[in-house]
Amino acid sequence: MSDQDRISASVAVMEGQAVCAACGQDLGLATEPWKEHAQRREIPLAQAGGPAFDTGHEGVVLRHFYCPSCAALLDTETAMAEDPTLNDILASRG
């Protein structure tokens, strides 16, 4: 892993740390799940994206993960409430 790499277009890497690509906020080690350091919010699907997302069915949420500093939306996940978070991590090369 190098500073050229990112975890995603919204989460960058600096000296081995995951950081918000917009403001540089530290999100923990890039080799660990960064979402644990993000602000998480679960929105019922029906309220997530306008009427087209209202399926008439309960139990599905759109998870948002925000930068705790600048509130940038870093990632989303479609999820049933009980399902675990999806984690993306980089490995240290060596």
Partner: protein
């Protein structure tokens, strides 16, 4: 070998696949093959490994390789020049029974030197429901005829008893005959052209070039993987059938020049026919891998070698007999496509060099709807709603997804004109257009999907019926990237005409809610489209890329003007305030600031 001769042989191998595809389309003449491009032709080496894959439904490239290999195992010592074998058993290699493989050995001077294989989605396979997708099938036994390998043509002669037996088990045997004939002609062209290539350059020289081609692909792909960061990316897909939700979980790990797709944690196989076998899963993950990672590398065995798949037995992505699988291609396989597209998109997005190649998930959910019944000319017809091939593009790291832009696993599909459908079936469209808010919001928006409504029109029997294997009406499946939202889910609505006897709607420019009657969601099974009722279908948009509140406000304004985004979503999701059709910059800034504080305030409250 001499690089010029290599270059010539390589070019010719591509053209051989092209010529075979042309032959397949010509002889078949069916709409699903010619318009939907629901086909595939590829060449294999003597041991059945993939040599050259064409542009067709890409999830077949690896399964057809397995079909070759299983024919080699089953018929070892009994494979002769001019033979053609048929295989459509999903537990052997096929994706589902209606996608029939015809596999043909290619001999040169008496020696087995290569294989060609092709498939089309045949008109019917004799499953419990017409058209091949069988939502009412409880097991593989009710999904029609299936064979783990049978000799259809022996030494150039059709085995009439075998053909008659197959045709005896299907609806519309004439149409299936044409499908089979087209595949035979296709394999014959591939064989003849391969033989003349070998006559011109020598079998040894051609085989050396083939080995070199595979080696090059492997080297190029490994080199590309080495350039990408090491890491682990996850994705998840939900498939809902009749109120039951199944999960496909994927963890993709990249280490140096290897890639591992691990589906551990996926749900057990379903009682419904959305399951897929392991060969189908392997095909499913390669379908996005080829165009996303290997767009400039020849698609062959070399690309397969650095990739490993783990799929737990008895799960929805590696089901065991007799689980039903007829809806696999638009069920678990498509979910594997999507899950792989998502993790590959994430990995590409993690690389400075390849970020422009990353994409959110495209059109994640086919709505397989087969219309059937007596048409206005009095003949019985079966036909797929080709709008499902219209798809929607996922957003990219640099641009919006393409509106109604197709799908990754089948890059060159088309949908039929409204006039073509209305001429063939006794129905009338009320509208067909891009569906507002269907594209996943993001800094770059997912491409919109579409919506349509149909009513019966001058139907001799008062209407028709349709088989629907619709999923994705409860969960969005076109996942976004880097903060982009998923595309909106599918929607299938049966509008039952009001009891008061009001006439069927003649037009409904206002959309679904302008159609009089009560709305009932449907998704799985056989339903009528009769009398004054209507059917509404909305198909999913592509996933978005990036945070919607940093999208260029002018782009949002244009989307609203074009009807692609509603004014409400422009405000709520994009934080853009419009005044008289123009962006109010001050209000927009304030609105976006407000959204940011609300995001963190929400957190503080929790």
């Amino acid at each position: 070998m001499d690089p010029m001769t290599f270059s010539i042989i390589r070019h010719r191998l591509f053209r051989i696949v092209d010529e075979a595809v042309i032959t397949l389309k010509h002889v078949s003449g069916s709409a699903i093959t010619n318009e939907g491009h629901d086909l595939m032709v590829s060449l294999y080496r003597a041991d059945g490994t993939l040599l050259m894959g064409g542009v067709g439904f890409l999830h077949h490239l690896t399964s057809a390789a397995e079909a070759c290999k299983s024919i080699i195992r089953r018929f070892e010592g009994d494979i002769h020049e001019g033979d053609i074998f048929l295989l459509n058993d999903p537990y052997t290699a096929a994706l589902h029974t209606s996608d029939i493989y015809l596999v043909s050995p290619i001999h040169h001077e008496g020696r087995l030197v290569a294989w060609s294989a092709c498939f089309v989605h045949v008109y019917d396979i004799g499953a419990v429901n017409p058209g091949g997708f069988a939502p009412q099938a409880p097991d593989i036994y009710t999904e029609g005829f299936s064979s783990p390998g049978i000799r259809l043509v022996s030494g150039g002669e059709m085995r009439q008893d075998v053909l008659d037996t197959i045709l005896n088990m299907v609806r519309s045997p004439e149409m299936v005959t044409l499908d089979l004939r087209s595949m035979i002609a296709c394999n014959n062209v591939a064989r003849d052209r391969m033989q003349s290539l070998m006559t011109k350059y020598g079998a040894e020289e051609v085989d050396t070039a083939c080995a070199e081609l595979v080696r090059q692909s492997e080297d190029l792909f490994r080199a590309r993987l080495s350039e990408l960061p090491d890491g682990q990316w996850q994705s998840r897909q939900y498939l809902d059938v009749n109120g039951v939700t199944a999960r496909v979980n994927l963890t993709m790990t990249k280490r140096e020049d290897r890639l591992i797709f691990d589906f551990s944690g996926s749900d057990p196989q379903s009682p419904y026919s959305i399951n897929c076998t392991k060969w189908a899963s392997l095909g499913g993950l390669f379908a996005p891998l080829f165009p996303l990672l290997c767009y400039d590398i020849t698609w062959n065995e070399g690309v397969l070698r650095p990739v490993e798949m783990i799929a737990p037995e008895g799960s929805i992505v590696n089901c065991t007999r007799p689980a039903p699988v007829s809806v696999a291609t638009v069920g678990a396989i498509q979910s594997v496509n999507n899950a792989a597209c998502s993790t590959i998109g994430k990995m590409l997005g993690a690389s400075e060099k390849y970020r422009d190649q990353s994409t959110a998930v495209w059109h994640a959910n086919h709505f397989a709807i087969f219309k059937f019944g007596r048409n206005q000319k009095g003949s019985e017809s079966i036909g797929i709603l080709t709008e499902t091939f219209a798809g929607a593009g996922g957003a990219r790291s640099f641009a919006d997804g393409v509106e109604i832009g197709g799908e990754i696993p089948n890059p060159i599909s088309r949908m039929a004109n409204v006039e073509t459908v209305e001429a063939a079936f006794p129905v009338r469209y009320l509208f067909r257009r891009r569906a507002p808010d269907s594209g996943g919001p993001g800094e770059f928006r997912g491409g919109t999907g579409g919506e349509l409504a149909l009513v019966p029109h001058k139907a001799p029997d008062g209407g028709i019926h349709y088989v629907i294997s619709g999923k994705g009406a409860r969960h969005p499946m076109s996942e976004g990237l880097a903060g982009g939202y998923p595309g909106a889910p599918n929607s299938y609505v049966w509008i039952k005409a009001p009891e008061d006897g009001a006439n069927a709607p003649v037009t409904a420019a206002g959309g679904l809610d302008a159609i009089p009657g009560t709305q009932e969601r449907v998704s799985w099974g056989v339903y009528p489209l009769m009398g004054r009722d209507a059917l509404y279908v909305r198909w999913n948009g592509g996933g978005g890329h990036g945070d919607p509140i940093v999208r260029d406000p002018d782009a949002v304004c244009r989307d609203v003007a074009a009807g692609l985004v509603t004014a409400q979503s422009a405000g709520d999701i994009y934080g853009v305030v419009l005044n008289d059709g123009a962006v109010d910059e001050t209000e927009t800034q304030a609105k976006r600031k407000g959204i940011r504080s609300a995001r963190l305030a929400q957190e503080a409250a929790e």
